[in-house]
Symmetry: C3
Amino acid sequence: MRSFSLTPAEIEAIVLPVQSAGERPAPITGLASLEKATQTDLSFLGNRHYEKMVADSGAGILLLPTDFAYTPKPHQKIFFVKDPSLAFALVCERIERLCAMKPAPGIHPSAVVDREAWVSPEASVGPLCVIEAGAIIRKGVILHAQDYIGPHVTVGADTELKPGVRILTDCEVGERCIFHSGVVVGSDGFGYALTNGGHHKIPQIGKVVVGDDVEIGANTTIDRARFGATTIGAGTKIDNLVQIGHNVTIGRNCLLVAQSGVAGSTTLEDYVVLGGQSGLAGHITIGAGSQVAGQAGVPSNLPPKSIVTGTPAFELQKAYRVEALKRKLPELFKRIEALEEHFKK
Amino acid sequence: MRSFSLTPAEIEAIVLPVQSAGERPAPITGLASLEKATQTDLSFLGNRHYEKMVADSGAGILLLPTDFAYTPKPHQKIFFVKDPSLAFALVCERIERLCAMKPAPGIHPSAVVDREAWVSPEASVGPLCVIEAGAIIRKGVILHAQDYIGPHVTVGADTELKPGVRILTDCEVGERCIFHSGVVVGSDGFGYALTNGGHHKIPQIGKVVVGDDVEIGANTTIDRARFGATTIGAGTKIDNLVQIGHNVTIGRNCLLVAQSGVAGSTTLEDYVVLGGQSGLAGHITIGAGSQVAGQAGVPSNLPPKSIVTGTPAFELQKAYRVEALKRKLPELFKRIEALEEHFKK
Amino acid sequence: MRSFSLTPAEIEAIVLPVQSAGERPAPITGLASLEKATQTDLSFLGNRHYEKMVADSGAGILLLPTDFAYTPKPHQKIFFVKDPSLAFALVCERIERLCAMKPAPGIHPSAVVDREAWVSPEASVGPLCVIEAGAIIRKGVILHAQDYIGPHVTVGADTELKPGVRILTDCEVGERCIFHSGVVVGSDGFGYALTNGGHHKIPQIGKVVVGDDVEIGANTTIDRARFGATTIGAGTKIDNLVQIGHNVTIGRNCLLVAQSGVAGSTTLEDYVVLGGQSGLAGHITIGAGSQVAGQAGVPSNLPPKSIVTGTPAFELQKAYRVEALKRKLPELFKRIEALEEHFKK
């Protein structure tokens, strides 16, 4: 992070506090956790887990929830806000804008762009990118470096591809997406027919369609459909190292945490959350708003708003109960032996 | 998928039906699921799960299993075939051939090919590939773009590397393989000796040998052997984001589903299937034809044709039984308390 | 592995045996497992698991533990050493040095290096690398090919980046590190605030700081901090396809086996070992020297030297006991039914 400086008045204008307290004219020049913050830093209470650290924090400016009682130290400014995490994010956005060097539009001379590709003059194509015939790169798109855009791919306006992203033949990407390094969109689905003792490849001639405002984490892979499209709904956010199989349909505003996996032809309705390292079987539907715990394995359909854990996954509260009793099995066996002893007498 | 058109007679010549029904002279120009297919689409019943959707399907041509009783709608053609999935795959292959643009042989001027590498004049080396000294690229090979071929690597005839594949020093790849974007073959194995409180790297000076007709999914990693070779048998298919440790030996025609992992020095005999996110411990042998369920963790040897689930993995049918009883633990504890009450009386 | 030749005297000078036995003047020209080794190979007993194979091994030179009783065959030389694995590693290192072709210093003409980057004249920058403005590449660094070094990144002396590594804006890498192909350091953390029904991105404006002597496996991803730094301690070794979330702190000399994952803001103290496919929740601390079994899921803090397994993870010995009893549930239910029958009488 390069250097920046923001006055308390500028912070106030960004976070729009419900209330404020304390006096401090000096600007802040850094961000830090409650524990590590010093006089020149802004900090915040985003997670109640850390509320005991507020009193000892040396932060120059603090963002606290409106229902948190606190008297500022000398030279400390407090802004009470509805959602300190969001307020902090808005401050970060401002800093990002102050520090970030958005690459200028234009095509780097080392990029290899097919003459039958179309690149908006308002897009930026960085060094050593490859853009194949029939591809369309719309305005405001940033391809940072070493990206690969396959034949007939479309990349929507203001989408940003970090270095080393690969989008393969025919896939379509929406507007304002962010794909991190190593993302692969449009790899072949995993499909074979067993014939004469060998696995005969089933061609995967569909595509991937990614909606607007989708973010995809580093080294995540999304397979193209066998035919038709694998689709990722608008506003969905996917973390690193996630696997999305062929013909999967993901709704709007889902969250897929790192290393989770979705097998082929499964549907996630809107607002589904998959915990880290969780897995979904193929050909099932996960109802809207469902939450799948980390490492859970879901073998069959879930109704909307399900909350499940375990492999095979079942209802969270029941699973907790069963897990607690499972750990009492040594005691249980002893109790049964005692009962059996009674009978022998 | 670019546009295509196939007449019912052409489809018939591809799928070689046992029987057919219905009248329809018009060609189809698309493929779709039973649910989404319209008059101009071909569809098929590949999974009995969906058989209720056949009656309502608007598909112009349908591929159905021979034992499926069905009367075509007007202008609908039915081909009854032994294996609709395979028949459909054959149609897809034809379409793929009609639409695909196979790159022409030759080396793209932006590729960096060492003068001590040998590239067949019948191979195609795409933009921004790197080929190091001593590498051999045989006829019919396609390196799409941004691939890396390390020193002394051999790539067999007709193998296709999608953009961004890396094959490192000394590794050998067979014929007709397909490696998807982001594959790494020949990364160092994970081996250290603890000395003086630090982890001392054990050099990994072996290689990886990949047989013929192997497919490897996007961002999958295969480590080179500590010495000797990590080997992948002919006809084996590996999905995305799979990890293969050093000195692993994988037999012929195995299937490794996405995000599965195999620790060092383990052996998979022929026709082993690993479910998604499953893991195998190191230094064990999985007998031929065994099937490991998704998310299972296998700590020790399995005899041939084992079918296991869970962590630590055990026999599937028994595991289902235990899992069902586990969920009755709350009831069980109550029954025991009732028995204990009896005794107190 | 290219060809080499080492005499028994040269091997002796490398492994410094406590004792030796047998006569053999001829050099060895290969390395092999006990089972596969022939007269011209060196082999070793690194794992007691394989001790029955020593007697049948045809190896020309054998490295055995000092407490292993064995009489050499004709023309076989035995070196008894404290730690055969380490001794073997030292032999491998020698061979590696004999065979490896270290790239010469200098910048390949196809690399794209910003004029505001600084590259030591003693560093080697391979073909098609990109180095952005403000980056610093110190002496002895090797960027093999197609690597990406973002703005203001620092790479410490003698660090080696295999082909296709990406280190993003502001990140700092120590000395003597090895990063394998496909590593991404500095992808954005996964953080959103839900506002008006959409996930609002929380900017991730921190960095990643990697200590000295760290090795990172192929396609592993390490997210930058939301603010401040994600840190990887000196001497820590990370395997392939591992995910490290934002603001994670990893101590010194930890080992993270393949496909493990660490959620945001979690701390690993020194010498922690994470088994393959294990996962840690966010905002927790794993005490020094703790070991987490493969596929375990850790939801909360662990004291130092914990050894845990399962999801949710608990103490290993207890977990083994519970697991064994769990599999007796079918028997247990029968015993309870028998007791209940008694009462009915």
